[in-house]
Symmetry: C2
Subunit: 608 residues, 2 copies
């Protein structure tokens, strides 16, 4: 990686993960749809085909990709340029307040990458939901079907052997994903493909309970420490380790231009919380917020290509007093901004009152809703309380409105919840919100471990993912303490990939165990290099191994440093199998002899 | 810390954790029973009493303790010296093979700390189980009752406010622990106090489903890297961060003498796997193992003061073929040693056949059984299979025999289990083993993350702890890759403290939320120092915070680096509360005016 000064971002992390290869595959007859995956070659001694794994790293994960941040990524969705129902138009002009009035040296230059700007031309389908309802299978649907299947093909071959397994709590994961299945799931609101028509660089991702569990990572500039290159690199770095979507939670100066650089270079869906920028535009005073500035911000960000917006429209005036006796009050930034607005003005939230108009704007660009949980609990003490569930019911109402308006919707969830209260969150969400995808932060199952909240929340995330949550928002070790650095982001993403994969396994995803079993076979065969490569983080695994056993010869050693050669249980098992075979052969030999003996009349002395 | 050369261990880590104080408290009328705890003073602005937390750090956690490793720790159980039913005797002489025939420079000197050696004198009660059944409440029972209650006293005060909460899956955790409750739980085999009569340094710990969930950490020398000081320090270090018991899994030379150093300086129960040393004594050849060498090893280690033995007596000849088609075969070292012995000789395991005699030896010293799961799965693919559950049924049989013989018993469990198969492990164990405490390793809920197996297993550990597991054996980030260093041990222990605490919370332990709520209040009040101190790892929390906001003034800042001052949701909530109070006051004022108005006859114009 090469981080330059903030005005000239030139380089980010590239190249394959470990010794794997990034490849693309197209569904039959659709060479224009190029679906990425990662292939991990295994040692020839294994006799196994390479392992295919899902990969959100974008072109950055390819061997010979040289990014040009100023030009942005090539279009991964070339079909958008000719899609019916869209019209090109002249967008909103950038205003000084979009960048926090940054000027001169302090102004980050806009990203020079130019894209034609589109919006819905009329009432013809433009969102994935509208297409789905109209019975139309989009390229995005074909794309995600192929993408979700990549790791399933081998499993299908082995289907006869596969034991149906898992407890899905009502999820209905198919053996094989067809584009038609994707369409039907989107049509009934049970899955979304967040994909703004102005984000052609996007590699489509599906978020829904009947698909692989996804992971989101948050990034954001901070007033002092960040440069543009760092911001783009954060997104690249997070998706490299497995973030399926990235939320840009930036505040402060240059927010518009930095977002431009990020989106033009993002192959993952980008989410934002527009109220943050709206608040910047009114100088940070929540009471100055109004519909006009918010509407302006929605259009600004929709035109840039943001794929989903967190909208805290469920924080209603009547719910604010329900938080009065909480231990930690309101902990969502968006939630507290809106609560303050409502309470001080003693007026209903303009987000709630103008929800129809918000939908109309978001539909035009197919920006998906991520209905924010502004009243989520900030501590185990406040979990599952009246405020939280009142808001959830409102999010259910709003979901139906958004669906009527043609918008895709997912629902945000907590937060801080002890283990025994997690399932109720999932059950209530499914019921209140008509099975719209749930997107939760953790939840943290205890509050006593600052510095380890990737773990306290990874426990809750794995469980709620199993119960049906479609996307898990990561938490880093710095949560509650400070801003995550590169290592923290990587640790957070990998922890959440663990949680998401554990959930897929437990739900009985038909192909989830492929990778686990490949790892287990590599363990049993002492294929050390394969173990490193199959894992989520080959670099760390290799490094940990080499700390104790650094020599190259140790990579084929039939033991490891834990037990040493004399005590190796796996080696003993292998010996056992050999012995068992010998014993079996011997016994078989004896049995054959016995049979022969009986056939010959059971005479002790055979006449010569 | 100060690690000297291997022949002269002089120093280990001492001093309080963070800014807390290690204190002792005695039950009324029993000044001889000194029960440790840790007290965390909170900022005076909080108006809160200091927080008391459970503490296994031993005297090492005290402010002014200077350890003398050669003398060993002072007796924490002085009453043993006068306990009826015990006889002092001359123990077994140390043999060259006990230390792997190490000689001269290579021989670690024995620990000079001398202790009188005891054993059961006859049929009078000697184990905690025998006392409990005889209706006798021992000092150990009083000790653990007081210890478990420390964090409950305040909860009791607040009992009226406390909402009954949690799902205990049949566990029956009392509001307050009486010594009689402890006795009854031990009498029915549902809890154990592993406490060898030759380990007077021990601070008693209770392990059972109706008590706080406990954590074990494994340590062990390795042929090359370890010295005596390092071994003692590993134990001290692990218990400092929260290990309630420590297993010494050493192999190789000097195993006897190193164990001596460890036990004489251990305030936590020490467990071992005697078959490891027995195998050393026969030169590492499993086929040379026999009852005599094993028996000799049991006596040797019982006399040293080991508190619990892992005995793999459930690995029966008939079960070995059940592992033949597994993906990872047998992964327990003890299990594979016994499987090899059984299969090669085609004989039933001598551990199974001599189980009565093993009980007789262990009873004499009150060494608790940890019945080993030699056939536990080594991968998600092998979880809950016929081999695993056949062994579990056998462990149930053996539990009943051990109980008849007066021995305390816990049962070891897996291992590698996907989330949806965890509960079946707990349910089957409770049923098969008559509710004897379950003691599991993890389980790891996926196999794809070498380098992060503290997390993959921490997820499973939290869940199985919630379901009823009494003690969780930790896993470090180095699992499957190499030997853990200090940082790995700390990370492993803290991850498992998170899992254990999350389980206590979810079970509805009456006092578990005390610490979470204290943390949450500190968060809401921006008491940064309190947040660090209340957490499991004050040093790391403080360091993470200071990376972004280093100044002392920031420790009282009413915001943090995540949102900055303008966006702080907690600050907004505080403001909201103030505003709400004002509004309430204003409205109350108006109401009072209205009332006055009505009282005066609702006349618009009051005559002057």
């Amino acid at each position: 990686m090469n981080i330059h000064d903030k005005r000239t971002p030139l380089s980010v992390t590239t190249g394959p993960i470990g010794k794997s290869r990034k490849l693309y595959s197209s569904p039959e007859g659709r060479p224009d749809i190029r679906v990425p995956y990662r292939e991990i070659a295994l040692d020839p001694s294994s006799g196994e085909a390479p392992l295919r794994v899902y990969d959100p790293s974008g072109p950055y994960g390819c061997e010979n990709f040289t990014p040009d941040l100023s030009a942005g990524l090539p279009a991964a969705r070339p079909w958008l340029a000719t899609r019916a129902g869209l019209e090109a138009y002249q967008g909103r002009a950038v205003k000084p307040e979009d960048n926090g009035f940054a000027e001169g040296e302090r102004l980050v230059p806009p990203c020079p990458a130019e894209r034609k700007l589109y919006r819905a031309a009329g009432a013809a389908p433009v969102t994935q939901l509208e297409f789905a309802r109209a019975g139309i299978v989009t390229e995005e649907m074909i794309y995600v079907a192929h993408r979700e299947n990549l790791c399933r093909e081998r499993a299908l071959d082995a289907a006869k052997e596969r034991i149906a397994d898992g407890e899905s709590f009502g999820a209905d994961i198919p053996e094989f994903v067809t584009p038609e299945f994707v369409r039907s799931e989107i049509a009934r609101g049970r899955a979304i493909i967040p994909a703004n028509i102005n984000h052609p660089e996007l590699e489509p991702v599906i978020i829904g309970r009947n698909f692989l569990v996804k992971v989101n990572a948050n990034i954001g500039n901070s007033a002092v420490t960040s440069s543009v290159a760092e911001e783009v690199e954060k997104m690249v770095w997070a998706s490299r380790w497995g973030a399926d979507t990235v939320m840009d939670l930036s505040t402060g100066r240059n927010i518009h231009n930095i977002r431009d650089w990020i989106i033009r270079n993002a192959s993952v869906p980008i989410g934002t919380v527009p109220i943050y920028q709206a608040l910047e535009k009114v100088g940070g005073d929540a009471l100055k917020l109004d519909w006009e500035v918010f509407k302006d911000t929605l259009i600004e960000q929709a035109e840039q290509g943001v794929d989903y917006f967190t909208i805290h429209a469920g924080v209603r005036l009547a719910f604010v007093p329900l938080t009065a006796n909480r231990v930690t009050g309101i902990v969502s930034r968006g939630g507290s901004i809106m609560a303050r607005w409502c309470l001080s003005k003693h007026k209903e939230s303009f987000l709630y009152e103008r929800f129809d108009e918000i939908c109309d704007i978001m539909r035009k660009y197919d920006v998906s809703f991520s209905l924010g949980d502004g009243l989520r609990p900030g501590s185990n003490a406040d979990a599952n309380d009246a405020a939280q569930f009142a808001e959830l019911e409102t999010l259910g109402e709003l979901t139906k409105i958004a669906w009527e308006k043609g918008c895709q919707v997912m629902i945000e969830g907590p937060g801080h919840v002890p283990m025994h209260k997690i399932k109720a969150n999932m059950d209530k969400q499914l019921k209140a919100c008509g099975e719209a995808p749930f997107y939760t932060l953790g939840p943290l199952v205890t509050d006593i471990a600052p510095g380890y909240d990737h773990i306290t929340s990874g426990i809750g995330a794995a469980m709620i993912g199993w119960f049906g949550t479609a996307m898990l928002c990561y938490v880093t070790p710095k949560e509650h303490l400070g801003l995550p650095d590169r290592d923290d982001v990587k640790t957070g993403v990998i922890t959440y990939r663990i949680a998401a994969h554990a959930a897929d396994l437990a739900k009985g995803h038909p192909a989830a165990r492929e990778r686990d079993d490949a790892m287990s076979r590599a363990r049993f065969d002492f294929r050390w290099n394969d173990q490193f490569e199959i894992g989520l983080d080959p670099d760390t695994a290799r490094q940990y191994h080499d700390e104790t056993m650094p020599k190259e010869a140790h990579k084929v050693a039939h033991f490891c440093s834990m037990c040493g050669p004399k005590f190796c249980s796996m080696q003993i098992t292998r010996d056992l199998r050999e012995e068992a075979k010998e014993i079996e052969a011997r016994e078989k030999g004896m049995a054959e002899k016995a049979e022969e003996f009986m056939e010959k009349g059971a005479q002790i002395y055979v006449r010569g």
